[in-house]
């Protein structure tokens, strides 16, 4: 059997030019959707046993342990991030270890496209599609937030102060990419609340 052919959602897009920030697709990201109740001690303990970390209970936070991250999605839902290579095995282990609890584990590594936005002004670029208060103290590194972005649903992960990952469902990848191309154009750059040149 020949090698399996694997294609990321935005494999056909060229590297963008003329933007005020950097934009690229992250392709090597495994994702596992975990459902279970945060108040179910047996479930939480079993999850910790596999992942090495407690699933975060606080809304919109994330934790990491080695190359594994756990993103809070809801009071009974998390998204586990790891490398693609590891995802299948990790999902299988989770299913086994959590088998005795009320839970649902699904490998969703192919369900979303991951767009990495990086640079000064990245928050302003995102504000052209999101009504969240991204300039507030709520959006420190590690913060996770589902949001409406342009005309679609997205998941926002603050990786560093000027580095954001935007997760969108795979079928919307081109739309999200095109939307960022349009709003991150250098001549449309906006800098909010910083020192400005004095208007006449």
């Amino acid at each position: 059997m020949s090698e399996l052919y694997v294609e990321s959602p935005l494999a056909h897009r060229e590297a963008p030019q003329g933007l005020s920030i950097e934009l690229r697709e992250i392709t090597d990201r495994g994702m596992i959707d975990v459902r279970g109740s945060a108040s179910d001690k047996k479930f939480m303990a079993a999850a910790k046993k596999v992942l090495g970390i407690d699933l975060p209970k606080a809304s919109r936070t994330s934790v990491s342990w080695g190359d594994v991250k756990a993103l809070w999605l809801s009071i009974d839902q998390w998204l586990i991030l790891c490398s693609r290579a590891k995802a299948v095995e990790l999902a299988a282990t989770l299913k086994t270890e959590l088998g005795g609890t009320h839970s649902l584990i699904v490998d969703v590594s192919d369900m979303r496209a991951v767009l990495r936005l990086e640079g000064e002004g990245v928050r302003e670029v995102l504000l052209k599609g999101s009504s969240l208060d991204l300039l507030s103290d709520d959006y420190t590194p590690g913060t996770v937030r589902r949001m409406r972005y342009a005309e679609i649903a997205a998941l926002l992960h603050v990786v560093e102060d000027t580095v954001f990952d935007v997760y969108v469902f795979r079928s919307y990848a081109d739309y999200a990419w095109d939307f960022i191309l349009a709003t991150a154009r250098a001549p449309a750059k906006v800098t909010l609340f910083g020192a400005q040149s004095t208007p006449i």
Partner: protein
């Protein structure tokens, strides 16, 4: 554009991040006694709605947050939200007392029951 607050996950945001689900506390008769549901009871469940000018109780979903349903009390004239509370809960007592018209009738028994317990 209203600002809505989710009592489940604490998210706050524009109404477009949420999904309005209509009147709260509508009872589905078939869940309780599937055999004896009159045509009128079914009509009331499906179509008759409290439609007050003023304090109203309704359902919302945290659509772009935790995905959970919750209840809200809102003034339909000023648009001010008076409270957000759980999907299986009754509104805060003072709001049940402030309710008027059909809502006052609806909450009368609940307040009595609460007073007893």
């Amino acid at each position: 554009m209203l600002v809505v607050h989710c009592p489940v996950c604490g998210a706050e945001g524009d109404e477009t991040d949420f999904h309005g689900g209509g009147q709260a506390h509508v009872r589905r008769p078939a869940t309780h006694d599937p055999v004896n549901v009159s045509d009128e009871a079914q009509r009331d469940y499906l179509f008759i709605r409290h439609n007050p000018k003023g304090l109203h109780f309704e359902r919302w979903r945290c659509d772009r947050g935790c995905g959970k349903w919750f209840h809200a009390a809102r003034d339909t004239v000023t648009m001010e939200f008076k409270a957000f509370y759980g999907i299986t809960e009754l509104p805060p007592r003072e709001l049940m007392e402030q309710a008027t018209g059909e809502w006052a009738t609806y909450f009368k028994d609940k307040l009595k029951a609460e007073a007893k317990s």
